[in-house]
Structure formats: structure tokens, C-alpha cells
């Protein structure tokens, strides 16, 4: 099934650790390398550190130890490096986080103009292209509150894509949606995967993981418990903990 061509490593995560101020250890000695065009799915029980991992990758959370490199740029104290990484790594949140005071068009155009320094016309052209891509072009001029959850999440995906990121991260992008809207969002994510986008996806949608992912990581208590290709992972898990988790969720 995997006939996909991968590139070099675009993300290198080496032994990172993260302890929150309240003493909770969210990540412990976590390492992984992700190749260009690879789709990596992270699964694990609630509180296992999946969101924290994603948030460390783009600098939303600071790591205490270890190192992260994105497309050759180290995520360190250098502000310029951090900004570069923020621009190159797109993120889609569970609760969409659209800007409620801006129309869909502005939500997607704003950062193109401010950060990518495009003209309004260029930015809005690009925005319309993206809205077509996520099947919602007719909603360009409405406010987020007038959209369904599924539509809002598709706008959020378009907003992230507008920055032309090299990596896209999804943190339970479908968990807040009504069941009938999950499909339309997963569809957009699948299209992205097929186009060769590098993706790091936290999800409870095992169907999606099985079908789309190239690599699955199961984590618990901030540590990697088991990983492997989707085929191996789902048909022949090695660890008891993984088996138990899969039996509960499938």
C-alpha cells in the first residue's frame, strides 16, 4: 500500500522533556524523526502528552531538555529561528480558534498580508483558491459564528495552508465536531496527505489513522510506548498497553 516517496528528515526531535510549572511531567525523553511528506499519527489516552508534543514542535510550549530542529532550523532562543518555524509549521486546533471579529476571507487573508507580505489582491486570490479547495468558497464573506463546526474547521485548515507551511499539525481536529461533520474534515485532511503534505496528526479516528498514516506512535505518560507502520501497528501490536488501548478505542 505504501508506494509513497519520502524525502529527508524535516523534523528532528531529540530526547525532549517537558515539565509544567505545577510539576506535571508531560514529556519524557521523547525522540522521533519525521520525513518530508510523511503522515505521522499520534495516539494515546487523554493526558498522555500528545498536545504538549505538538505545541513544543512550534514553540507554543518551551522544552526543558533535548532539541528540536525543523527543516534545518533549530528551535532555540533565537527569535528569528522561532518566527521562521512558526511560519513553516501550520497548526489546526480542536476548537478551530478562528478570529470571531473577522470574516472568513479576512481570517485567511490577514496573515498572508501581515506575515507573507502579500498585497490584498494576491492574498484574497489565494484565499478564494483555498476556500474552493476546502469546498466552502460561497462562505467567504460570512463571520465564523455563522458557520457549522465542520465548516469552521475547514476554514481553519485553509487559514493554516495559506501560510504555505512545510508541515501541518492537527490536534484532535475532529473531536469537537458533531458526528455528521467529521467526514468532511477528514476528507480535506486526506487530500492534503495525498498531495504530499508532511503531517503530524493527533486523532482518535482510527479509520483515518489506518488509511492515511505512514507511521503511528502510541504514547502514554509522556513517553513513546510503541510505534510502527499503520499495517503493523494495528494488526500486530507488541505491547500489552497498546493492545489494551486499541481494544478500548476500536
Amino acid at each position: 500500500m505504501n508506494t509513497k516517496e519520502f524525502g529527508d528528515y524535516i523534523i528532528r526531535v531529540d530526547n525532549i522533556g517537558k515539565t509544567f510549572d505545577n510539576g506535571v511531567v508531560a514529556l519524557k525523553d521523547f525522540s522521533t524523526n519525521i520525513r518530508r511528506s510523511e503522515v505521522v499519527v499520534l495516539i494515546g489516552p487523554s493526558g498522555s502528552g500528545k498536545s504538549t508534543f505538538l505545541r513544543c514542535l512550534n514553540g507554543l510550549e518551551e522544552i526543558d531538555s533535548g532539541s528540536i530542529t525543523v527543516d534545518g532550523i533549530p528551535l532555540d532562543d533565537n527569535k528569528k529561528n522561532r518566527l521562521e518555524i512558526r511560519k513553516e509549521v501550520g497548526m489546526v486546533f480542536q476548537h478551530f480558534n478562528l478570529f470571531p471579529h473577522l470574516t472568513v476571507l479576512k481570517n485567511i487573508s490577514l496573515a498572508q498580508m501581515l506575515v507573507r507580505k502579500k498585497s490584498r489582491v494576491e492574498a484574497e486570490d489565494e484565499t478564494m483558491q483555498l476556500l474552493k479547495k476546502v469546498n466552502i468558497a460561497e462562505k467567504a464573506n460570512v463571520f465564523p459564528s455563522q458557520l457549522s463546526g465542520g465548516q469552521q474547521q475547514r476554514v481553519a485548515i485553509a487559514r493554516a495552508l495559506a501560510m504555505k507551511p512545510k508541515v501541518m499539525m492537527f490536534d484532535e481536529a475532529t473531536s469537537a465536531l458533531d458526528p455528521e461533520m467529521i467526514g468532511e474534515v477528514l476528507e480535506v485532511m486526506k487530500d492534503l496527505a495525498v498531495e504530499g503534505m508532511t503531517m503530524v496528526v493527533v486523532t482518535h479516528e482510527m479509520g483515518f489513522a489506518r488509511e492515511v498514516s505512514d507511521w503511528v506512535i502510541f504514547m502514554e505518560d509522556g513517553m513513546k510506548v510503541e510505534e510502527g507502520t499503520a499495517e503493523h501497528f494495528f494488526s500486530d501490536p507488541k505491547m500489552d498497553r497498546t493492545k489494551l488501548f486499541l481494544s478500548q478505542i476500536l
Binding site: N58, L60, L83, R86, K87, V89, G90, M91, F93, H95, N97, L98, F99, P100, H101, L110, A111, L114, V115, A156, R159, A160, M163
Partner: protein
């Protein structure tokens, strides 16, 4: 359901207002009566000339209106400074820089824990000679530094009330802090900030009467002088109280308008 609640509130406001009116009118009548009983001789007819006069058909403002002009001048300049100082202080408090936060803290502690009167004296007798500024500027600075610390809390509360997800979305899109505040956070915070910030104008107008202590001839100062020269104590102070009240009531209408217009929808 929603409209009946609205109507109740409206009626409630009306009730509040009529109760307030009855109380005020009652209070004033009692006062007038009480003064008369003590042998006070009311001379309202002498008041208008302190407000304005007509000479050869030309309107000439009297000392009270001249004082009002200065009160309004002090107020609007201080108000603009208050809004700027408040915003800058709030941003400093929320910034990552330890120094910025420290300076903001120190400023807030100083202005909040000393009386305004002392701050006005300090500005006039200590700071003004050093910086070589006139008394009007000293008054404006003292007032705006004092009110600015309260404004900063209004801004801060409005800013931190914006959903954390908004900061994160704007961060991941690569916006810098200026762009984040300018395009994402402040436009959303303004709904919470604007009504209380307008109320600050009311405090400012009232507090501006305190600068008479450094011999600024604003309305209260002029009223004081007239009262001591003419002994029309009640008439003069009722008059300026009415003017302050009219200003404050007008402003509170503006506040009410903003509250309605920017009602926080969640």
C-alpha cells in the same frame, strides 16, 4: 423570553431613575427649607452674572463658565493621556520583559497607594520645578498618571479575557506581538474595555476639581473664590454641583450606549 427580560431591565432602569429623582428633589427641598429656617437669605438672582453676562448684546462668560472651560480642558487632555498611559502600562504588565513588568508594577503601587491630593502636590512642588513645567501641565500629568493606573487595569482585564486560543492561533500564523494586539486581541477586547473606560471620564471630571489646590482656576477654584467674596455659598455650590452632575449624566449616557452597542456576545 429574551425580550421580556429586556423589558424588565428597561422598566427597572426607569424605576431606578424615578427613585433617584424623588430622592434628589426631596433632598434639595429639605436643604433649601433647612437653610431658610436658619435665616439663610436666598439670592439666586445674583448667580447668573457669575455664569455669563451680556454686554452690548455680546455674550461674555463669567468666572464659573471660564472655570468650566479650564475643567473641560484639563479633563480631555488628561483623558487622552490616561488612555495612552493605561494601555502602555497594561501591555508592559503583560509583556515578557522582566524590566517592563517591574516598572509597571512600581508605577501602579505608587499611584494606587497614595492619595491623589498628595500626588498633585508632589507633581507641583517636586517634579514641576525639576522638569520646568507650568502648573497646568503638572495638574494634567498628576491626574492622568493617577487615572492611568486604573485604566491599565481595565485594559488588562479586557485583554486577558480574550480566549487563549486566539493568542495561539495568531502565534502559529507567525504574527508578531504588535500585529497580534493590533489585529486580533484589541479588536476583541474593546467590547469589554470601552464602557468602563468611558466611565473613567466621569471620575476624571470629578477628580479634576482637586487641582484647585495648586491654584488652577478651574470651576471649583473659581466657585470657592466667589463664595468667599459674596457669601453666596449654597447658591454657588449648588450651581457647580448641577454642572458636574449634568456632565456626568451625559457621559453615563455615552457609557450606556457603548454597553449596548458592544454587548459581549459569547
Amino acid at each position: 423570553m429574551g425580550s421580556s427580560i429586556l423589558q424588565f431591565c428597561k422598566r427597572h432602569h426607569l424605576l431606578d431613575f424615578s427613585a433617584y429623582l424623588v430622592l434628589m428633589v426631596g433632598g434639595i427641598i429639605l436643604l433649601l427649607k433647612g437653610a431658610e429656617d436658619q435665616g439663610y437669605y436666598w439670592q439666586w438672582f445674583r448667580i447668573p452674572k457669575f455664569l455669563y453676562q451680556f454686554e452690548d448684546g455680546r455674550f461674555i462668560a463669567g468666572p464659573i463658565l471660564n472655570g468650566l472651560k479650564i475643567t473641560l480642558n484639563i479633563t480631555w487632555i488628561s483623558l487622552i493621556l490616561t488612555y495612552i498611559i493605561g494601555l502602555v502600562t497594561a501591555l508592559m504588565r503583560l509583556s515578557n520583559s522582566l524590566m517592563a513588568r517591574g516598572i509597571a508594577r512600581a508605577y501602579l503601587e505608587l499611584t494606587r497607594n497614595t492619595p491623589l491630593l498628595v500626588q498633585i502636590f508632589f507633581m507641583y512642588f517636586v517634579v514641576a520645578p525639576i522638569l520646568d513645567i507650568d502648573r497646568f501641565t503638572a495638574a494634567v500629568l498628576a491626574l492622568s498618571l493617577f487615572e492611568g493606573s486604573y485604566a491599565s487595569e481595565i485594559y488588562r482585564a479586557g485583554i486577558v479575557a480574550v480566549n487563549k486560543g486566539q493568542w495561539e492561533a495568531s502565534y502559529t500564523l507567525g504574527l508578531n506581538s504588535y500585529q497580534n494586539y493590533r489585529y486580533i486581541i484589541l479588536p476583541q477586547a474593546i467590547r469589554r474595555i470601552l464602557p468602563p473606560l468611558t466611565s473613567q471620564a466621569i471620575s476624571l471630571i470629578k477628580d479634576s476639581s482637586l487641582v484647585s489646590v495648586i491654584a488652577i482656576y478651574e470651576m471649583t477654584m473659581n466657585a470657592n473664590e466667589i463664595a468667599s467674596e459674596t457669601f453666596l455659598v449654597f447658591e454657588i455650590f449648588f450651581t457647580i454641583a448641577a454642572i458636574y452632575l449634568a456632565l456626568a449624566l451625559t457621559l453615563s449616557r455615552v457609557v450606556a450606549y457603548f454597553e449596548k452597542r458592544y454587548r459581549v456576545v459569547t
